[in-house]
């Protein structure tokens, strides 16, 4: 479980996160949604430690990330996997080396065990024959899947995904969403997904937080989101014809 308590963040005097608190439970796909520039990614990066907040706490199963020692932080980071918007695969390494990278860096596993784990993870994301490919040879969807394989290779407890289906066609986007959802259930991972894609929200949003201008305006799930009585959320959800039709229906 991840507990976020009263997170505030400013950049050069401009506050971008206002006192945000939330709880993300294991085995659940939580989504942080909102328009562009509302602070979703800053919140996500504050949770994973890439952008330290000005105030507030982030607790991973009771362990305070920002008040931990360097060793504690390092140990905690090894339980965190992250899927970046563009995949963030290392250009100079093959798919196999990319997925093996956390094992090479952070474990003393023998090579055959590492390879077993890498092959297992690649198979899990449906890329069993892509070991020797370079990132430049992969499609957008394949890069995301390799990113997921790399994120879970250390038997991650917490998975963070920043816009996992941006730039993908609807079918591939749904496939990536479902993959994240299945992995969350299979390994009882605490998953937090940042997205502004309503298809994703409908597909996998078991727990949703709506961020508007840096503040949390609404919290619920993909069943209750259409009944929410929050003007800003309704404007966000019903911003396209398809969802407006759904609302009328």
């Amino acid at each position: 479980m991840i507990e976020v308590k009263n997170i505030n963040k400013s950049f050069e005097g401009k506050q971008v996160l206002f006192n945000i608190s939330a709880v993300f439970k294991p085995g659940t796909t939580s989504m942080i949604i909102g328009g562009s520039g509302t602070g979703k990614t800053v919140l996500l990066k504050s949770i994973v430690g890439l952008i330290p907040p000005d105030s507030g706490q982030v607790l991973f199963d009771g362990r305070d990330f920002y008040n931990g020692t360097r060793e504690e932080k390092k140990a905690l980071r090894q339980e965190i996997g992250m899927l970046f918007q563009g995949g963030a695969l290392f250009d100079s390494k093959t798919v196999e080396e990319n997925v093996r990278f956390p094992l090479d860096m952070l474990t003393n596993m023998p090579m055959d065990e590492k390879m077993d784990r890498v092959n297992f993870c690649l198979k899990r994301v449906g890329l069993e024959n892509a070991n020797k490919k370079m990132p430049s040879e992969l499609s957008g969807g394949m890069k995301k899947r390799v990113g997921i394989a790399r994120a879970i290779v250390l038997q991650t407890k917490y998975l963070f995904c920043d816009e996992p289906n941006s730039g993908l066609d609807p079918l591939t986007a749904i496939m990536i969403d479902n993959l994240i959802y299945e992995i969350t259930k299979e390994y009882n991972i605490t998953t937090v997904v940042v997205s502004h894609d309503m298809n994703s929200v409908m597909e996998i949003g078991e727990h949703i937080i709506f961020i508007y201008k840096g503040a949390k305006l609404w919290e619920g799930d993909n069943e209750s989101i259409f009944q929410a009585d929050v003007k800003e959320l309704n404007e966000f959800i019903f911003s396209n014809k398809l969802t407006r039709k759904f609302k009328v229906g």
Partner: protein, 248 residues
């Protein structure tokens, strides 16, 4: 304001260096990276260094001969001047400017691209000290390979002077060989090597600093590469002057 800004950047540079050398990953991890960087920084720079240093030596010999107007000055002076200019200045400093252009821009471009494509963030999320992991092998490879490149550059520059001098009929081979052996001061070689260590450190760290702190997109990566070369050149010329004051 400008002074304050320069101080802030210098402070950030020092913090960057501190982070490169502290909280390292286990040493076994750096070995392959170090070898890769040695190949990239050293071996891949051989051609450009060989070409520039040979021609610099040749031009120095021709220019010196052209300026020797007095028949009282012996011709072996051409060899002596080529040797001393090469060892003291041309091999370490001019090669450093070429090195900054090739290796410095490469380092800044590589790290800048890694930054904007979130590869550096991916390392940080894994709990890896990204500065140490990415920059330390480059610094070590730089200070290993650059002095070797300087030795090669000095040798080829003197050979270039020999070819230009003898083929052009400016000096006989015996005179040139006598010139490059006359009044030799061994410390000059040590001085050139000290310079080469300092220049390699400055070029690799300044370029890495520029690349690592890139923000934005492709345009900013290009700007970071340009800044890396410009700032490295300014720093190494300043260091060249300071070392000359301190050691000569």
């Amino acid at each position: 304001m400008l002074k304050f800004n320069l101080l802030r950047i210098f402070g950030e540079y020092l913090v960057f260096l501190w982070r490169a050398f502290t909280n390292r990953e286990p040493l076994r991890i750096y070995w392959k990276l170090y070898i890769d960087e040695c190949l990239l920084i050293g071996i891949d720079s051989l051609t450009i260094v060989a070409i520039t240093s040979t021609f610099i030596g040749a031009v120095t010999a021709v220019q010196t001969a052209y300026n020797l107007v007095s028949p009282l000055i012996p011709l072996y002076i051409i060899g002596l001047i080529v040797r001393d200019m090469t060892i003291l200045e041309l091999a370490p400093t001019v090669t450093a400017i070429v090195f900054a252009g090739k290796v410095g821009s490469n380092i800044a471009g590589q790290l800048g691209t890694m930054r904007i494509t979130e590869q550096i963030d991916a390392l940080e999320v894994m709990g890896i000290n990204s500065i140490s992991f990415l920059v330390l092998p480059k610094i070590l490879a730089g200070i290993t390979m650059y002095p070797l490149l300087v030795i090669l550059a000095a040798f080829l520059s003197i050979v270039g002077g020999y070819i230009a001098g003898t083929v052009g009929g400016l000096i006989t081979p015996d005179e040139y060989i006598y010139g490059i052996r006359a009044d030799f001061i061994e410390f000059n070689v040590a001085f050139a090597l000290i310079k080469s260590f300092v220049f390699a450190f400055l070029i690799t760290t300044i370029s890495a600093f520029q690349g690592y702190h890139t923000r934005g997109g492709a345009l900013e990566v290009g700007i970071a590469s340009t800044k890396a070369v410009t700032n490295s050149c300014i720093a190494l010329l300043l260091a060249d002057y300071l070392l000359a004051e301190l050691l000569v």
